[in-house]
């Protein structure tokens, strides 16, 4: 079900459920994903991974593996050129050159074998002899911060999500921000709630494993077909690690089978490039599912301590947020981002946020849809729910009282432009769901509010106009979920032509200008903006052409809605198609291009949830009965796809809330590295998700677009925890709220 409010109708293309251009290929099996690429003479490679969480590598002997029939080459870190200090610009990218002196987690890649078939490569892995000196591992971030804990790195890179952190201790970096005087603030509070929360490591759970085909030519140039979110980052990292100029590495992004932050970095491409160079043949590496769980970057686990103080009348007056993110084997947990948005949704005059990025001997983590925000919201919204209970205030009224609005300042002191916090809360308050009383034993209702900053950054685009008036758009943002549709729609709107006249293609790194990856809810916003600018460039050039055809000064020619006309002379008029037909004979084709970096126009956004659920008091199992999400999307480009984002993000959030976790044993081995035991929601685990699309146009974007992709995963764990409390009276402070944990909480409540 969907209710759309504040529907704008000023656009001809934007806001319509057009048919996605890649759709037919995807429903017929024609779409080419990385593992679907077959090249002549292609070899298959498999990766050997560390069986230890922390160990020195004494020696690696590959001779027996190389003797196996069908084995063509082996790569270890020794095959990579020495990397001069500072040359690898991305944090921790040296990781992708295989483990050299130490392995830092179970699953750390140590070597790879290329062979005639994947089966032979797999068998050959067992013939590689690695001698390890096992070191004491540290698996808990709080222990890792203690003096005397095993140390993973000689030094830590202080950059985290664009923020510079301070060294705290050998395994930890920190970032602290504050505003006002929290001690004074807590003294002014009538009610103070303080609690500790934890969340476990979770995986993005994309269905397509990491995969690439790499072909290294005799001149050393490298061509990569890869399922990746950011082809330019893949290119830069690979060029850095192989010491190649960037124009010698071409990344061709294939269709991508989900990413959610997990496919931002090149786990396989650099080693495949070396295997291809050694053999002179293309090499494919596709991860197994257990490789994906153990060898790629899940989302960080967390420990959080939250203290909030409020007046009896509901105003928040002080907040202290302390959190440790478990970065895994390398620093880079989303501390900077979480510090920025952790308390950002409420007006809190006195606040202190202390964030820690802590390395432990577990997989190196990666972003996952609104990185860091889900963890922080679980904790902080949990405390808010408790404050509402203590004060005796409706949870939506409490939030309406405190939510930031236009003109309020963010943590950096910058005033917000128009934002939709009030709108999403009002939408939930006025929803049929919230207005319908929930009845029955062991049932409960919870609400939560989520806030996400969204992203901007660099994107490029170019548009060629064809003689028949159709256009081709090329851009560099891998399409995870339909972004090329929304980008094409923005171009069509700007050109004033039907969407059907637009063909849009995601191209390789040689064919389009630098474009940041498809992450951070930036793609439809920033690459969409690039498409708008490229379309404006086309319009400008076509205006010039019309002026030259008509022999009038260009400033006398105007364009509106795909029609070019002389401002005074009604006889001088071209439709887009008419003018396109004249181009080749009147000076050549028109190609519009653009490069944008619209960081200033980024519009942060809110989502609010209400959930009804039932707890089975005998087993602790939670069943979601009804779920409504309201999200401010700025301007819905393609409402069907926007709904899909809200539904999909919510269900991921439900999975995180109820069942998903990495189950590590005491040796740091993940025991549930399969889809069977990792337990992502199946269709029968969830109800229909009701979506309310709120359109509070982003004043910073030509069409009011805000990021949509991430906000929806932030709130479900918090909303579900509140509903469980409402159902059975227990405060859940740890994720996942799995049946065993709920049962235990019930036992504690009953003095069991």
């Amino acid at each position: 079900m969907s209710t759309t409010i504040e529907r704008s109708s000023q656009y001809k293309v934007i806001g319509k459920d057009v048919l996605r251009p890649d759709g037919v290929d995807k429903v017929t099996g024609r779409a080419v994903f990385a593992d679907d690429v077959h090249l002549n003479g292609m070899l298959h490679a498999k990766v050997l991974r560390s069986p230890h969480a922390h160990a020195k590598i004494r020696s690696i002997d590959v001779s027996e593996a190389l003797k196996m029939p069908g084995v063509r080459a082996v790569v270890t870190s020794e095959d990579f050129p020495p990397i001069p200090e500072g040359i690898v610009k991305e944090e921790g990218a040296a990781f992708f050159a295989l483990a050299s002196d130490k392995v830092l987690f179970r699953g750390h890649a140590v070597a790879a074998v290329a062979a005639d078939s994947p089966h032979v490569a797999d068998e050959a892995l067992s013939k590689i002899k690695v001698e390890y000196e096992v070191l004491k591992a540290v698996l808990d971030p709080r222990e890792a911060m203690e003096p005397g804990a095993p140390v993973l790195h000689e030094k830590l890179n202080p950059m985290s999500f664009g923020a510079r952190l301070e060294q705290h201790s050998p395994n930890a970096l920190q970032q602290i921000t504050s505003m006002g005087d929290i001690e004074q603030g807590f003294r002014e509070a009538d009610v103070v709630v303080e609690r500790e929360f934890t969340t476990k490591t979770v995986h993005q759970g994309y269905i397509e494993p990491q995969s690439c085909v790499v072909d290294t030519a005799p001149d050393g140039s490298v061509t990569i077909w890869s399922t990746c979110q950011g082809p330019f980052r893949h290119r830069d990292n690979t060029a850095d690690l192989l010491q190649l100029p960037q124009n010698k590495v071409k990344v061709i992004p294939t269709e991508i089978g989900g990413g959610f932050g997990g496919k931002e970095v090149p786990y396989l491409e650099p080693m495949a490039a070396i295997l291809s160079r050694k053999t002179g043949r293309p090499v494919k590496i596709t991860m197994s599912r257990s490789d994906v769980f153990e060898g790629t970057g899940p989302a960080c686990a967390s420990y959080m301590r939250v203290k909030f103080g409020a007046k009896k009348t509901g105003e928040l007056v002080a907040a202290h947020l302390y959190f440790c993110f478990e970065a895994g084997a390398f620093p880079g947990a989303p501390v900077g981002g979480a510090v920025g948005i952790g308390l950002g949704r409420y007006k809190i005059p006195n606040q202190l946020v202390e964030g820690f990025d802590v390395v432990v001997n577990k997989p190196r983590t990666q972003p996952y849809r609104a990185p860091g925000a889900t963890q922080i919201h679980f904790a902080t919204e949990g405390v808010v729910d408790e404050l509402c209970e203590k004060i005796g205030m409706d949870p939506i009224e409490f939030r309406l009282k405190n939510v930031v609005q236009e003109g309020d300042r963010n943590v950096q002191g910058v005033p917000f432009l128009r934002i939709g916090g009030v709108e999403v809360l009002e939408a939930i308050k006025n929803s049929d769901h919230y207005k319908t009383p929930l009845e029955g034993p062991n049932r409960g209702r919870g609400v939560a509010l989520g806030f996400w900053r969204n992203g901007g950054g660099m994107s490029s685009c170019s548009i060629s106009v064809h003689p028949d008036g159709t256009v081709s758009i090329i851009e560099g943002s891998p399409d995870l979920s339909g972004t090329r549709t929304g980008i094409g729609m923005q171009a069509a709107e700007t050109l004033g032509i039907p969407f059907e006249d637009v063909r849009i293609t995601v191209v390789d790194t040689d064919s389009v200008g630098y474009t940041m990856g498809s992450w951070g809810s930036r793609t439809s916003f920033a690459t969409g903006w690039a498409a708008i600018e490229a379309a404006r460039d086309v319009n400008l050039k076509m205006v010039e052409r019309a002026s030259s055809i008509w022999s009038v000064p260009p400033e006398e020619v105007e364009v509106s809605d795909g029609t070019f006309y002389h401002r005074d002379d009604g006889s001088k008029k071209f439709t887009f198609k008419q003018l396109a037909a004249r181009l080749n004979a009147t000076g050549g084709p028109v190609v519009g291009s653009s490069v944008v970096d619209p960081t200033r126009g980024v519009g942060p956004a809110f989502a609010a949830n209400v959930v009804d659920l039932e707890v089975d008091p005998e087993t602790g199992k939670v069943t979601i009965l009804r779920y409504t999400v309201a999200q401010d999307v700025g301007q819905a480009l393609h409402p069907g796809m926007v709904e899909g984002q809200l539904e999909g993000g919510t269900v991921q959030g439900i999975g995180w809330a109820l069942n998903e976790e990495y189950f590590f044993d005491n040796d740091g081995q993940m025991r549930n590295s399969s889809f069977l035991d990792y337990r992502m929601p199946v269709a029968l685990d969830v109800p229909m998700i009701d979506t309310i699309i709120i359109e509070v146009p982003n004043p910073g974007h030509p069409y009011g677009v805000r990021g949509v992709g991430e906000n929806n995963i932030i709130t479900p764990p918090a909303a579900i925890a509140a509903a469980i409390h409402n159902a059975i009276g227990v405060r859940m402070t740890d994720l996942p709220m799995s049946p065993g944990y709920v049962l235990q909480a019930l036992w504690q409540q009953n003095g069991h």
Binding site: H119, K621, N659, L676, R679, P681, V682
Partner: protein, 290 residues
């Protein structure tokens, strides 16, 4: 996966002779939903894979007056597609329709579920409460083993090198009887039992008292567990919540679970009580409808 040979025998004797070859490193393949996954992960090895699906005796599914003859390679799907079998053995349908997913059930066999000998096997407790008997063929002829004695530990069973499971025979269900299997899983489908319980009950003519009962548990011991004492104590007892709770407590008393990624000892013992009570209630309901 390590390389292996593949054979498709068309008679039981041929299958037995193939299983006896290769120094006992042959493996039967029925649905393959466990075997192939384990071989791929290197947890099972085979030099020879013997496909069971062309041996008539291994694929029989016949319901007669004396009971059910369930060929070892019969898929779960064939069970839930067979209305008379579902009517006669609803608990078998309970088990066969929750293993994996529809696409797994199209291949996975009840016999394979038993031979795989996972403590969490969903079919085995049902076969136990129905007093199933295994027919085993080998180089020295055939022998019979009650299902409850078939599994010997996690992943191990009584089959000797060269032997294979031919079928499982379930006696016909007596009048006024009913059975049910259920398990607890965090997900609603596609999951492995944290704990499971099968109950078979026969009521007296008044349908107010238990005449006999059998209870069997999944995932709470090194093997699927026959909780004999829990069923026995119901004999002669009135059908009421008190009796059911006594049996559930007795089932809890024999459970010897471990803590692992799927559940803790305390949680599993607790679930045995909950599930056994629920299984008994449903079995009674079915017995009364019968």
């Amino acid at each position: 996966m390590i390389d292996f040979d593949y054979a498709v025998p068309t008679s039981l004797s041929e299958a037995v002779s193939l299983m006896g070859s290769n120094g006992g490193s042959a493996r039967m393949l029925a649905g393959g939903t466990d075997l192939l996954i384990m071989m791929r992960a290197g947890r099972r090895l085979a030099k020879l894979v013997v496909d069971a699906k062309s041996v008539p005796e291994l694929n029989e599914l016949s319901l007669t007056d004396s009971g059910l003859n369930l060929g070892a390679a019969t898929s779960c799907k064939r069970i839930w597609d067979d209305e008379p079998v579902v009517q006669a053995y609803p608990a078998l349908n309970d088990s066969a329709s929750i293993i994996g997913s529809v696409q797994i059930q199209g291949r996975a066999s009840v016999g394979g579920n038993l031979c795989n000998a996972a403590p969490s096997a969903d079919c085995t407790p049902t076969l136990i409460v129905h007093s199933g008997v295994c027919t085993i063929a080998g180089p020295n002829g055939t022998r019979q083993v009650p299902v409850e004695e078939f599994c010997t530990g996690p992943g191990t069973n009584v089959l000797q090198p060269g032997e294979l499971l031919v079928n499982i025979k379930l006696p016909s269900a007596p009048t006024n009887s009913g059975a049910h299997y259920l398990r607890f899983t965090p997900r609603n489908e596609m999951d492995i039992a944290v704990a499971g319980s099968a109950a078979f009950v026969q009521l007296d003519e008044s349908k107010q008292n238990f005449a006999s009962a059998r209870i069997s548990l999944a995932a709470v011991a090194p093997t699927p567990l026959f909780a004999k004492a829990a069923g026995d104590l119901l004999v002669g007892k009135p059908v009421n919540e008190e009796s059911i709770q006594q049996a559930a407590e007795a089932a809890k008393a024999v459970a010897k679970p471990i803590t692992d990624m799927r559940g803790t000892v305390d949680q599993r013992i607790h679930l045995v009580g909950v599930l056994t009570a629920r299984a008994l209630r449903k079995a009674v309901e079915r017995a009364r409808e019968a």
